[in-house]
């Protein structure tokens, strides 16, 4: 990437400080990125003693969502942040803390609330039918003696998402506060933020959407860029949630882009989508189907790209660490830890790149929808 140099040059006095802060942040992040290996190395051998190490389960546990925020330790001795469970059943809303399951994810521990009984089976919450003691499945993995209530719990991912929200509010209210007080370019951390804001404006919004209309979409583009980036970076921290690597989160973000395209698409855009001018009539319906499919595939590709990139990064790191336990040898760590470190550093780049690409392609699609075509 070639960030636009002008804003940097214009605010030269601050850049030195900005470089310094950036250095500190990068060093700090790298240092933190090293921590999860220690955490795994300490946490997982205990599991290995009791049962055979299953890398798939370990990886799925780490990249999946959960009802409590587990940091380290096993069973009742583990350090887990309890999070509220919010369920919508046929008999109304039920809420309790996730700690009431006592870290059970095998559907054994039954929680009784409002005359209903719930179990947590692999982080899915089931409402047991009357008389059932634990959840049972048939061959096709259909549940036999329980029903699944609507689960609107504040899960680990929602909590991590809220953490990003708090960080963003602190960061950007700080920057806005600076701008309210004085007219000069900010220094230090605020300068980094402002450079990034200007990067989104000058490298993404302006060229893709056009000088006239870009201002309208700046709030979305800025919010989505910083949300994805900060969440990506937080996801690399030890014990953090894999928020942007969760398909539900990216589906939601993709839907925002789709909604913006559909709402802001102008007459030209719809004409070119549904009834392409300048081609024989019998081709028009065929092309309309293709165009509508393309319209839907664009945000789908966006959501899959983000989800797959982030999840793939986490899986690779976890697999490399998992190798130590699969091969049951500490010597492997000598090879797999540097590899994992390398991938983690790569993930720092990917974290930015995916945020950039999501924002860039969203801007591109929106720009296509609002572009004024020259009529021939």
């Amino acid at each position: 990437m070639q960030p636009n140099l002008e804003p940097i040059i214009l605010s030269r006095p601050g850049t030195m400080i900005a470089h310094k802060s950036l250095k500190i942040i990068v060093t700090f992040t790298l240092a933190l990125a090293l921590l999860p290996f220690n955490a795994f190395a300490k946490a997982d051998p205990q599991a290995e003693e009791s049962k055979e190490f299953n890398p798939t389960d370990m990886i799925m546990h780490h990249i999946g969502d959960s009802h409590g925020w587990h940091f380290f330790g096993e069973g009742d001795s583990s350090f887990t942040l309890p999070l509220p469970v919010i369920l919508f059943t046929d008999n109304g809303m039920v809420t309790f803390m996730s700690s009431e399951f006592h870290h059970d994810t095998e559907g054994q521990y039954v929680v009784e609330k409002d005359g209903m009984r719930f179990v947590n089976y692999h982080e899915d919450i089931y409402k047991l039918d009357a008389g059932a003691e634990s959840v049972e499945f048939d061959e096709e993995h259909n549940v036999l003696n329980a029903s699944k209530p609507w689960d609107f719990s504040i899960t680990k991912n929602v909590a991590a998402m809220l953490l990003t929200v708090v960080l963003m509010l602190i960061f950007f209210f700080g920057l806005a506060g600076h701008h309210k007080k004085n007219k000069k370019a900010p220094a230090g951390f605020n300068n980094i933020l402002e450079t990034l804001v200007l990067f989104v404006r000058d490298e993404i919004a302006r060229p893709q959407i056009g000088e006239k209309k870009y201002m309208k979409f700046m709030p979305f583009l800025l919010t989505v860029f910083f949300f994805i980036w900060i969440t990506n970076l937080l996801g690399l921290l030890p014990g953090a949630a894999n928020v942007t690597g969760n398909i539900a989160v990216t589906v939601s973000l993709g839907l925002f882009t789709l909604a913006l395209i559909l709402i802001n698409g102008n007459r030209d855009f719809w004409q070119h989508t549904l009834w392409m001018p300048g081609i024989p009539t019998f081709v028009k319906p065929i092309l309309a189907v293709v165009e509508v499919l393309g319209l839907i595939i664009k945000p789908v590709a966006l959501m899959i790209r983000l989800f797959a990139n982030i999840t793939a990064g986490h899986i690779i790191i976890l697999s490399l660490i998992g190798l130590i336990f699969i091969l049951e040898s500490a010597g492997v760590a000598g090879i797999s830890v540097p590899f994992a470190l390398f991938i983690t550093i790569l993930e720092l780049l990917v974290a930015f790149l995916q945020a950039f690409i999501f924002t860039m392609l969203s801007a591109l699609f929106i720009g296509m929808a609002v572009a004024e075509h020259e009529h021939h």
Binding site: L10, D65, F152, V158, L169, K180, K183
Partner: protein, 164 residues
């Protein structure tokens, strides 16, 4: 919790949270930040434009100064030239006057010398005449002491006169 089947709960929370975040940030952060950045860029542009203007004005002023200086220099040269000419003229005039005066003095001197000379000559003539007369009286007195001699003389003179 499956990897690739999105959960309704998470979609719901993400949508709500993101929407609220976007609205709050749009109102209280993005708008003031982008506004301030734009104002700053505009003021920088204005400053650049006015700096350019000032530079141009400076250049104009410099050119004006140069022109004025040149004019002044030309004027000075002109004045110097004039002064030199005047000086030469004055010198020439003075020389002429002096010559004339000298000539006049010389002429006057000559004239007065002439006059003196003439007066002296006249004086000498008078003196000579007086002397001559005195001498002549004395001579004549001696010569013409006798009657005879007187007649002789008169005759001689009459003869001369007739001849003339």
């Amino acid at each position: 919790m499956d990897l690739i089947t999105p959960e309704v709960g998470l979609i719901f929370w993400q949508t709500i949270v993101f929407l609220i975040l976007m609205l709050i940030l749009a109102k209280f952060a993005w708008k003031p930040i982008l506004g301030a950045v734009r104002t700053r860029e505009e003021s920088i542009n204005e400053a650049l434009v006015s700096a350019e203007d000032a530079r141009k004005e400076m250049q104009n002023l410099k050119a004006d100064n140069e022109k004025l200086l040149q004019e002044a220099r030309a004027e000075r040269d002109e004045m110097l030239k004039e002064a030199r000419q005047l000086k030469e003229k004055m010198i020439a005039e003075a020389e002429g006057d002096a010559q004339e005066k000298a000539n006049k003095i010389v002429a006057k001197a000559k004239e007065s010398i002439e006059m003196e000379k003439r007066a002296a000559m006249a004086d000498i003539k008078n003196q000579v005449a007086t002397l001559s007369i005195e001498i002549a009286e004395k001579v004549i007195g001696k010569e013409l002491s006798t009657e005879e001699k007187q007649h002789q003389m008169i005759d001689k003179m009459l003869n001369d006169a007739t001849l003339n």
